[in-house]
């Protein structure tokens, strides 16, 4: 009797000590969630996750390779370990259509098994060679590796699909991603989520300067991220009033910087409400005027929690490449025009001093204007829950 299953391997969790079961449990939960819609189930056994019950194998593999914490997925065949001839026949069958060089890699988790690992390799390998004359053995750089794992049952597999890696989502608390329609911010969110952090996201909507299509684009981007990191709560903040007030009252060259400061303030407040421990932005040093070291210091000043900028040392081309790998690039490039250019000064300040920024912002502080506007923006925030 043989049966098919997916063998899910994890990597960094192996380094964990006493809290390893906690990481394993969350990984198992996330894998289950990822394959639930395919009617598959997952079990943890012997530092491996076994996924069974699926009908569409490739969809299942695709879903699991996106789960943070998974190192690789291998479609395997399971067989009774007590019938060694059957194992050899199965191995020969799995290798019957391939040519080139191969080796057998054995792992004997059940140490009571009557052969040790080198013996398994030798015997199974010999049987494969007898049945497929196109193959030759190369134990150093083989084209194909047939894996045999002896556990409760014997498991045989040839193919390995590398997965996204990282740590299971939910093992590291929550952070708030400042999501724009651009290429960078989804990548930044991905990088932090990869380390097990659960994401919330905030988007600043300036109707009528930005229309409904832009909002839909943001929702699509967040939705792509949910395939990796699970549910995301998206906050859509009405930002027009603040933007117009900045434009009216503050010096031109500081408007972008002051806008950034107020975006951060609002994100900080929403993070507080939403129990997010940090903010995430897609900033990279020097990319635009508001991303110089001086400008970053000016925006950090208004925030009460850590701001993570995982792209800070990356080039634009590197970021684009990663966006393409994650699958957010095409959506980010949709050309829904963002009319916020009205509010973009022609010559923004590139090396602002904190003192200057505070001074430039002062006209907004009269009569608690800014405080009230921020209050209104937070109260008027629309909450959208996105699921994978």
């Amino acid at each position: 009797m043989t049966s098919k299953l997916l063998l899910v391997k994890y990597a960094e969790i192996h380094l964990k000590g006493q809290n390893r079961p906690y990481f394993q449990r969350l990984l198992l939960r996330n894998v289950r969630q990822a394959v639930k819609h395919l009617n598959a189930d997952a079990q943890l056994y012997d530092s491996r996750i076994f996924v069974t019950g699926y009908a569409d194998e490739s969809a299942c593999i695709d879903a699991i390779t996106k789960v943070f914490g998974v190192h690789a997925v291998c479609p395997a065949v399971q067989i009774d370990k007590n019938d060694f001839d059957a194992i050899c026949d199965l191995a020969a069958d799995l290798m019957k259509d391939v040519s080139g060089s191969f080796k057998v890699a054995a792992r004997r988790a059940d140490k009571r098994f009557f052969l040790d690992s080198p013996q398994i390799c030798a015997q199974v390998g010999a049987h494969i060679l007898r049945n497929n004359k196109q193959l030759k053995v190369d134990v150093h750089q083989p084209d194909h590796v047939l894996n045999v794992e002896i556990r409760d049952q014997a498991l045989l597999y040839v193919k390995t699909y590398p997965a996204v890696g990282g740590l299971p989502t939910g093992t590291a608390g929550r952070a708030m991603l400042l999501l724009s329609g651009g290429i960078d911010s989804p990548v930044a969110g991905f990088r932090i989520a990869k380390r097990g952090v659960q994401l919330s996201a905030v988007y600043y909507h300036s109707f009528p300067y930005t229309g409904e299509p832009v909002k839909e684009k943001i929702i699509s981007l967040a939705k792509i991220l949910t395939a990796y990191c699970g549910p995301i709560r998206l906050f859509v903040v009405p930002f027009t009033e603040i933007q117009q007030a900045i434009h009216e009252k503050c010096p031109d060259d500081f408007t972008t910087l002051i806008m950034r400061r107020n975006m951060m303030r609002i994100a900080d407040m929403l993070a507080d409400k939403n129990k997010a421990l940090a903010l995430i932005t897609g900033e990279s040093i020097g990319q635009v005027a508001s991303q110089t070291l001086e400008a970053l210091a000016c925006t950090d000043e208004v925030v009460s929690r850590p701001v993570f900028r995982p792209l800070i040392g990356m080039d634009k081309l590197e970021i684009i490449k990663e966006a393409q790998q994650i699958g957010t690039y095409e959506t980010s490039c949709l050309p829904y025009e963002d009319c916020c250019t009205v509010f973009t000064p022609r010559h923004p300040v590139t090396h602002p001093k904190l003192r200057q920024a505070q001074l430039a912002e002062r006209p907004l502080l009269d009569d608690d204007l800014l405080e009230q506007m921020i209050q209104r923006a937070v109260e008027g925030t629309e909450v959208i829950d996105l699921k994978p």
């Binding site: 109707f207 009528p208 300067y209 930005t210 229309g211 409904e212 117009q244 434009h247 009216e248 031109d252 949709l334 050309p335 829904y336 025009e337 009319c339 250019t341 009205v342 509010f343 973009t344 000064p345 022609r346």
Partner: protein, 377 residues
Amino acid sequence: MVYLDNAATTRPSEAVIAAMTAAMQEGYFNPSSLYAPGYSVGKEIETFRLQLAKSLSAREVIFTSGGTEADNLAILGLLQNSRKKGRVLYSAVEHSAVAEPCQRLKDHFDVATLPVTASGIVDLNAARDLMTPDTVLICVMQVNNEVGAIQPLEDLIRLRDELCPDAHLHVDGVQGFLHLDTKLSTGIDSYALSAHKFHGPKGVGALALGKRARVNPLILGGKQENGLRAGTENTYGILGMQAAIQDHRANDHDIRALKLRLVEGILAAIPESVINGPEPSSSEACDHIVNFSFPPVQAQTMMHALEAERVLVSQGSACSSRKKQSSRTLVALGLAQSRMDSALRFSLSRYTTQEDIDQAIDACARVYKNLRPFTRR
């Protein structure tokens, strides 16, 4: 809601919905079938084909999936894989459905554009210079879809007859059909129309051919449409289009007066606003389309703000609203960038009421006043 984007598409009329519902419920048979119910649907379609051909004085009418396909069929069906050589001319304000097929021909033909005047009308002096004896195809639309300019087809036909009598004249009539009287016998060789621009359904249109025009099919796989367009006929759509035409002729509605009311109202309420294209009251301007610029407010911002006031207008042609560049039409008119960036099209239909117009004027004035102070510095 005030819907002023009828150049993008129109609301289907009751008569159209009724005709299509009946066709779906009872007349769903394949017109190529040989039994009576199928045959009878075929006959209905053929009757309509003859009526339409007669009213346009066309030799033949081919039903298509819409205006774009009709334009493609006229242009590529005439010249793609043809052994002819020579010049292809199209006006600088043509819809992409004409411009792109013409550009497709540029490896084998000398493709050039006919410049237009500041009001969007083909410049006849320039046309005279460009119409060389070897010209094989001239494409000029009847009414421009963005600024509503009516093209001087009679003059162009006269020039064609004088300078290159063999050249095929294709007219994109998508915005002109039913608004203007059209006869192919005046010298038009092919004419494209689209049902959803006159309260008919989407997904259906027609190409009418004049007496000397011959095209090759672009879609193969059956003998429908006299072998010129394979595929089972869109019977519901075709009958819906028939109902739309009949219905239109039965309705008399002074759209032009409403357009002029809109123009007067907006120019009075917003002194900075300007008209793009022909003077709205002149004979060069069509009844249902008018284009304004509201500098310095960005068109898209103004459009969204009007949307919030429940007034729907558009930024140029809907077919290109997702592109970032300025509209080809507005560029051809030679407008300044600030004017192109703030251009909005208002287009009316027979369902537009005076209240709609007044509401739109009000909304424009209010929205403009709010947005005016926020300009890029």
